[in-house]
């Protein structure tokens, strides 16, 4: 019960100061609750509002930063894992529509619940808090021709928030998808000066798959030291597409952005190392390709800081059909250990079976609905547990040598519409799988429903 002791002692003081009032209700106003009387006026969060409309329904949304939500609600909601989202839904159709809370956030907080997390013991302002949270919440039902606005209490996300506002109307569901960069946190990609990364004439555009394959296969196996020497982590995938489409696919699948290394993020990582707490945007060490640190780091934390999947991306001076091409390096952290090799005295132990993390990423991105075309190429010297590669942290890793290649499109793609590069395929059955894929591609080109010829097992 946060605030219990602070308030109790404050009230006790009041009692001693004014003992004649002992019989009156206990210390009215012993803690003042002062939320913003008119949120939109007091805090200019609406300037960041994004609006989408479709078939007579329009949705505007803003995710509040931790600072803004404290200003508006008068209590620290982020501490309790709550992130209010302001929504305005307009309905110009002639039937009511419903905001589906559970599809928008399966673990949303009800207004009374969000208020309760900030209660202090036997405090009369609790009631006021309840009223305020209810009054400013958005209701489920938007009447025909009506406009509704208010806050929806979601689970807290750091950095970039994926918001899928799910509306049911006219017997069909509509999803309005937003991505918000939440103010108040520095992110590693913000320190990159994208315009000066490469000169305009440095980019080489490729139009054919064969050219692309050659270029990607020629990319060195591994990251290097800052001066370009040595072999560090494996460069085991490529993502191609509009950068917005790529990042939004990752965010949709629950990947988090990363804070740059700084004193405060380092301290938080250090604390999280000892407490085992979850730190979803914890900083990543620099790994070098093209003699520069990763442009973007992404991570997906499990329950503690020790376990997460993380990946780094570097923009290549290459375009494929006009799209950006990124080199990636993905690995799975299986735990942490104490070390003097990093400034925050802890490092992550990676899963040495590097292909396991690649396989995870493949599944994750294929389910994101953002990948149009997928394939594998070679380019890393295969290694085994008995004869592994080693990175600069002296951790061993091994791989079958394949790299995954993802092409992202603008429109959602379901798994059965997915297209493949008929190059090579990873895994023991790779040779057989690629035959199926070739047969399928041939079938699709002829406009036949793809039904590859069965191969008889030996």
């Amino acid at each position: 019960m946060p605030g219990l002791w602070g308030c109790a002692s404050y009230c006790a003081n009041q009692d001693t100061l004014d003992s004649s009032e002992f019989s009156t209700p206990p210390a009215k106003g012993c803690k003042v609750y002062a939320p913003s009387p008119d949120p939109a006026k007091d805090v200019p969060f609406k300037v960041r509002a994004e609006t989408q409309s479709e078939d007579g329904i329009s949705v505007s949304a803003v995710v509040l930063s931790d600072y803004e939500s404290e200003r508006i609600f008068g209590v620290n909601l982020a501490r309790n894992g709550i992130q209010p989202v302001w929504l305005e839904i307009g309905n110009t159709t002639d039937k009511p529509v419903t905001l589906i809370y559970v599809a928008t956030d399966p673990g949303y907080y009800s207004p009374n619940e969000a208020a309760y997390t900030n209660y202090s013991y036997a405090n009369p302002v609790n009631e006021e808090m309840n009223e305020y949270f209810n009054k400013h919440s958005i209701k489920r039902e938007i009447p025909a021709g009506g406009v509704l606005s208010g806050f929806f209490y979601t689970n807290w996300d750091p950095g970039i928030k994926y918001l899928n506002v799910s509306i049911y109307g006219e017997e069909q569901e509509k999803n309005f998808v937003f991505y918000f960069v939440i103010p108040g946190i520095k992110l590693d990609y913000q320190r990159v000066d994208w315009d000066t990364l490469y000169k305009k004439d440095e980019y080489v555009n490729y139009e054919t798959e064969e050219e692309l394959r050659k270029v990607l296969e020629a990319v060195p196996c591994c990251a290097t030291r800052k001066d370009g020497t040595g072999e560090n982590d494996a460069l085991n995938f490529f993502v191609i597409g509009d950068t917005d489409n790529i990042i939004s696919a990752f965010i949709r699948r629950g990947w988090d952005v990363t804070e740059p290394i700084s004193v405060s993020s380092g301290l938080r990582a250090f604390k999280a190392y000892f407490s085992g707490a979850r730190y979803r945007t914890s900083p990543m060490s620099s790994v070098f390709v093209y003699k520069r640190a990763q442009d973007i780091g992404l991570q997906k934390a499990r329950s503690t800081i020790h376990e997460r999947n993380h990946l780094r991306l570097w923009l290549m001076p290459v375009r494929y059909k006009g799209m950006d091409v990124w080199i990636g390096s993905v690995s799975r952290d299986v735990g942490s250990y104490f070390t003097f090799r990093t400034p925050w005295l802890s490092a992550h132990a990676i899963d040495p079976d590097l292909d396991e993390a690649r396989t995870y990423l493949v599944q994750d991105l294929l389910f994101s609905g953002g990948v149009e075309k997928f394939g594998y190429i070679k380019g890393i010297r295969p290694s085994t547990p008995d004869d592994p590669h080693r990175n600069f942290m002296k951790q061993s890793w091994w791989t079958d040598g394949y790299r995954a290649v993802f092409v992202f499109g603008d429109d959602p793609v379901t798994l059965n519409e997915l297209d493949f590069f008929d190059w090579e395929w990873a895994g023991e059955n790779g040779a057989e799988v690629i035959e199926f894929i070739k047969a399928m591609s041939a079938g699709r080109k002829q406009g036949k429903p793809a039904a590859p010829a069965p191969i008889k097992p030996d």
């Binding site: 309790n80 009511p96 419903t98 809370y101 559970v102 599809a103 399966p106 673990g107 009800s110 207004p111 009374n112 619940e113 997390t117 209660y119 209701k139 489920r140 039902e141 689970n155 994926y162 899928n164 799910s166 049911y168 109307g169 017997e171 069909q172 569901e173 949709r252 629950g254 499990r302 376990e307 799975r332 299986v334 735990g335 132990a349 899963d351 396991e356 993390a357 396989t359 995870y360 599944q363 994750d364 294929l366 389910f367 994101s368 609905g369 379901t414 798994l415 059965n416 493949f420 895994g427 023991e428 059955n429 057989e432 399928m440 793809a450 590859p452 069965p454 191969i455 008889k456 097992p457």
Partner: protein, 443 residues
């Protein structure tokens, strides 16, 4: 002096060798009996066998206590007798599944490298290969999933180049004793007491006639509203609630048992016992709960659903009266021993609407409707539960009819009863493509 120190030194060395060094002695899965509980489904030439290991079984197979680290191995046997290769995607089963080396790393011993290496090998060897299962081939092994106590939902998604096949299983995992195991369902009602109904109008009357609220053990006192009715085969209902990540509840033994490991693990509170409320003169038959797992809020915040089997059978299906409410406050760790009141969200219709949305998104609901029966109350003039906490309601109870087939939400049917204006009169929607619904994209 030297004589006295020597045995102590020897003892310390022995203790170090036994305690810290440790040893590692797993058993091959074939020798452990979990396969007796395996379930098999076959469709279009694919045969899937699944078993979920209990804590003891996983300890036997792997030689270490996996549950202590929140890991629950799921055994899979995939047989492909089709003409196409199928790719098994464990991410649809558990988006945060563990890799074999990760599970081994959690259990590594401090000073025993050879045992650690053996552990790595053991977990990798029994881990399932995540790749295409070729025609005529068979792939088996474990997926290391996050622990679900009590009931576990297993979704096996296989992808072939032109589409996906999903196989749904759910398992009762031994290890905890859910409260419904103490209920002898066949003897709850005699044959004469059962009421068979085939007609919607009659069903409506019967549901409206259910008591408004729960009571105390003596049949008196304030209670919480009976605000949901679930109709369906018990199997269909449980598979829907488990798919939506509701947990079963342990029977309250009434004994003072302080489990230190559990007091500091939110996971341990997912199946925490629930207070008894009474209807038809008896405690709830089944208690379900869904706690917030991301933060340590699992101690304080959960939704609870209590169910009682009624004597009504609608078209042969069982009818359950339910009371759903949202625990928003007091700490379970304190509540049990200090008799703190169970704080609920007083706007109890909000919780009912949440339940309706949540269960509908399981895609197991055929039909939705509302009936009267609770009685109207408002925030100015609320009613009170046993703990003297207020609640208010528009007086309606939601009725959910479960079916066998997957119902996409555009196809959801409605009972043409109360027109609960505002909420879901045109029905709700959603196809479960929320971020939390793995595999929905592939359908």
């Amino acid at each position: 002096m030297r004589n006295k120190l020597l045995p102590i030194a020897i003892w310390i060395i022995l203790a170090a060798a036994a305690g810290c060094g440790g040893s590692y002695s797993p058993n091959p899965p074939e020798e452990v009996s979990f396969l007796d509980r395996a379930e098999t489904q076959s469709r279009n030439g694919i045969t899937i066998t699944v078993a979920v290991l209990s804590r003891e079984e996983s300890q036997e197979v792997f030689g270490v206590d996996l549950a202590a680290n929140g890991v629950q191995p799921v055994w899979l046997d995939i047989e492909n007798n089709t003409g196409k290769p199928y790719f098994f995607m464990p991410i649809a089963l558990d988006p945060d599944y563990f890799s074999p080396n990760e599970v081994a790393f959690m259990n590594h011993l401090k000073f025993n490298r050879s045992a650690n290496r053996e552990m790595d090998e053991q977990f990798s060897k029994y881990g399932i290969q995540i790749e295409f299962v070729m025609p005529g081939e068979r792939d088996k092994g474990f997926v290391y999933t996050n622990l679900d106590p009590g009931l576990k939902f297993v979704n096996v998604t296989l992808y072939e180049i032109d589409g996906t096949e999903n196989f749904f299983f759910y398992f009762e995992v031994p290890g905890i004793q859910p409260d419904y195991e103490n209920v002898d369902f066949p003897t709850l009602y005699t044959k004469d007491e059962l009421v068979y109904i085939d007609d919607e109008a009659e069903l409506r009357k019967a549901l409206e006639a259910l008591p408004c609220c729960t009571t105390g053990s003596d049949g008196g006192g304030g209670g919480e509203p009976i605000n949901v009715v679930l109709i369906g085969d018990p199997d269909d209902i449980s598979s829907a609630v488990v798919r939506r990540k509701w947990d079963v509840t342990e029977a309250d033994t009434g004994k003072f048992k302080f489990d230190l490991g559990r007091a500091f693990s939110p996971e341990g509170y997912r199946t925490f016992p629930m207070a008894s409320l009474y209807l038809f003169g008896r405690r709830q038959d089944v208690s379900l709960q869904k706690s917030r797992r991301e933060t340590d809020a699992a101690y304080r915040q959960r939704n609870t659903l209590r169910l009682w089997l009624t004597p009504v059978r609608y078209k042969g299906k069982t009818v359950w009266a339910g009371a759903v409410s949202r625990d928003i406050g007091s700490d379970l760790r304190i509540r049990k021993y200090w008799f703190a009141a169970q704080e609920i969200d007083p706007d109890i219709d909000e919780t009912r609407d949440y339940l309706v949305e949540d269960i509908i998104l399981s895609q197991n609901v055929d039909k939705l409707g509302y009936v009267d029966g609770v009685g109207v109350s408002t925030s100015e003039d609320p009613r009170y539960n046993l703990s003297k906490l207020p609640w208010w309601s528009d007086g309606y109870r939601a009725v959910l009819l479960f079916g066998k087939d997957q119902i996409t939400l555009g196809d959801l049917g409605y009972f043409d009863w109360e027109d609960v204006d505002a909420i879901y009169d045109g029905g709700t929607g959603g196809d479960g493509t929320g971020a939390a619904d793995e595999g929905a994209q592939g359908k």
